[in-house]
């Protein structure tokens, strides 16, 4: 879930009687579960919100290559190296689909990248945390991709057609990633004392940042209502966070690791008697600090992306110039014939 704190454009939900007939017809289509397609009419605010959300999601995939890429050259076996490389390559592919989905809304990939580099668009806070030992690669797959799947599964039902379809494809690959991550954790948790220590350390460090991926608590989330009315968002932050906690705690126990939060306790009264785990809130002050640029890796991550872009300018220019020359030569040939 690579879109957090997406500011919804506009000023809250417009009551039905204040909508124009066009807006009303649009809302009716959404309420009937129809997909909105690129050429359909849509409110400007809907378009702007989607650009923010899908763009942020795309940026997260690309920036998200970096923390895992950090271990590719140091992966411990040839097989683990190949799996990790393939996974990080998948993230780049997800970035591509999502930029393409975003382009259907009338903004180019280059414009989106320029906004990211200028600090006008964000990426998920999670990628501002470092990967410090090999178990982090397991924990990223297990927890971070696990949290992403929680969000992305519901987004397969999102109202904007190209986004929903991108999500279907992405979800298939993400669940594979999550299983790979868990397989690393199983090896580490059942390994030598040093490996077990790495596994516990990774879990302890990444637990709360993973909970933050769902965004601030519903009571502080100003943007949820309109996004839900538009079906850009299907579940609230707290619903998804609870679902993630409930899924993950039994996996922690299965691995034989210590729960990273002493308050993680089963509460049979939660969810109208269905039960759920109680958990401590992440440090929301830290979350907002990370969003502001003060996470452990913000400056390094942005520098890596900006450097890649700037140092690659001559390559993009060179290949475009060559393509133009070829087109000119073949036009000349055609004219000569």
């Amino acid at each position: 879930m690579y879109a957090q704190m997406v500011k919804t454009a506009g000023h809250g939900i417009k009551p039905r009687d204040r909508m124009t007939p066009q807006e009303r017809a649009f809302q009716d289509r959404i309420d009937a579960g129809e997909k909105i397609e690129p050429k359909d009419w849509m409110p400007d605010e809907y378009r702007a919100t989607l650009i923010r959300q899908i763009g942020q999601h795309a940026h997260s995939e690309i920036v998200g290559q970096l923390p895992e890429g950090n271990w590719i050259t140091r992966a411990p076996t040839l097989e683990r190296k190949a799996i990790l490389l393939a996974k990080v390559q998948d993230e780049a592919g997800h970035g591509l689909y999502l930029y393409s989905a975003c382009e259907t809304l009338g903004v180019s990939r280059d414009e989106l990248i320029a906004m990211l580099h200028a600090g006008k668009m964000k990426y998920s806070s999670i990628f501002n945390y470092p990967t410090l030992n090999w178990a982090d690669i397991g924990a990223v797959g297990w927890l971070v991709d696990g949290a992403a799947i929680m969000n992305q599964v519901q987004l397969q039902k999102t109202s904007y057609g190209p986004y929903a379809r991108a999500m279907v494809r992405i979800c298939k690959e993400e669940s594979f990633h999550q299983r790979q991550g868990f397989s690393i954790m199983m090896k580490m948790a059942a390994g030598t004392p040093a490996q077990k220590r790495m596994a516990q350390d990774a879990l302890n460090r990444l637990w709360f940042p993973s909970l933050m991926m769902f965004g601030p608590p519903d009571k502080d989330s100003a943007h949820t209502a309109q996004s839900m009315a538009w079906k850009i968002k299907i579940n609230t932050n707290d619903e998804l966070r609870q679902r993630f906690v409930d899924q993950t705690v039994p996996q922690i126990d299965y691995l034989g690791l210590e729960r990273p939060d002493p308050d993680l306790k089963w509460n049979p009264d939660k969810a109208d008697g269905k039960g759920g785990f109680d958990y401590s809130d992440p440090d929301w002050a830290e979350f907002f600090a990370v969003l502001k640029g003060n996470g452990p890796c913000n400056t390094d991550r942005m520098k890596a992306r900006v450097d890649a872009w700037e140092q690659g300018a001559w390559v993009r220019d060179g290949l475009s110039a060559h393509a133009a020359k070829r087109a000119a030569r073949s036009a000349q040939q055609t004219a000569a014939q």
Binding site: A82, Q89, K187, A308, W314, V315, R316, H322
Partner: protein
Amino acid sequence: MEKNAALFQFLCRMGDNTLVLGHRVSEWCGHAPVIEEDIALANTALDLLGQTQLWLELAGTVEGKGRSADDLAFLRDVWDFRNLLLVERPNGDFGHTLLRQFLFDAWQNIILARLTESRDQRIAEIAEKAAKEAAYHVERSSGTVIGLGDGTDESHRRMQAALDRLWPYVGEMFCGDAADQTLAAAGIAPRPEDLRSAWDAHVNAVLDAATLARPDSDFAHKGGRDGTHTEHLGYILADMQFLQRAYPGAAW
């Protein structure tokens, strides 16, 4: 040279080339000039890594001391590596990386095609699989070298500089030794010298289309195929072998 020892040497040479080049190419992951290139570089690295597993596993079998592909990759020191010096050269800029890839792909594409006819069936099978990947690699790296050579003034200048810098590492690909003679006589692998003319033909055509000038020096740095490497390989291994060395015997 005794045949089994020559065969082990040859398999390490093949596997170490792909292992070390795959390592270098994988260093780009997340840093390429454009997402499509990032994906393509990762793809190349993955193919090379897959080939490494096959070559080194067979090397371990031929050696007969119970060493796995992982043991060979992660537990040998620099002097036991048999890769060409070319593939351990640092990445430099994107053009330098692609030019290194091109020089290697042109060679690999030729040797793998020849190895599909090896009298050692195991080698022929690995070559069959790898040749398909190499054919795609050489097509892509040739196309990129042409695109950047015949692109802007800056891209042309950078590509020519990369070519001049890497050219002294070309000759090693075509220098045979006693092990190569033994395998050639047994019909297992071609003599390295015999691959040069096909390589020259492909490379000259691409350089021509790329408007790049082929350096006229034939000077060749050598040593990688015998275990005398550049300073760079030690750092590659320090990086690659860190976990296996720091936590010996652990399963991952």
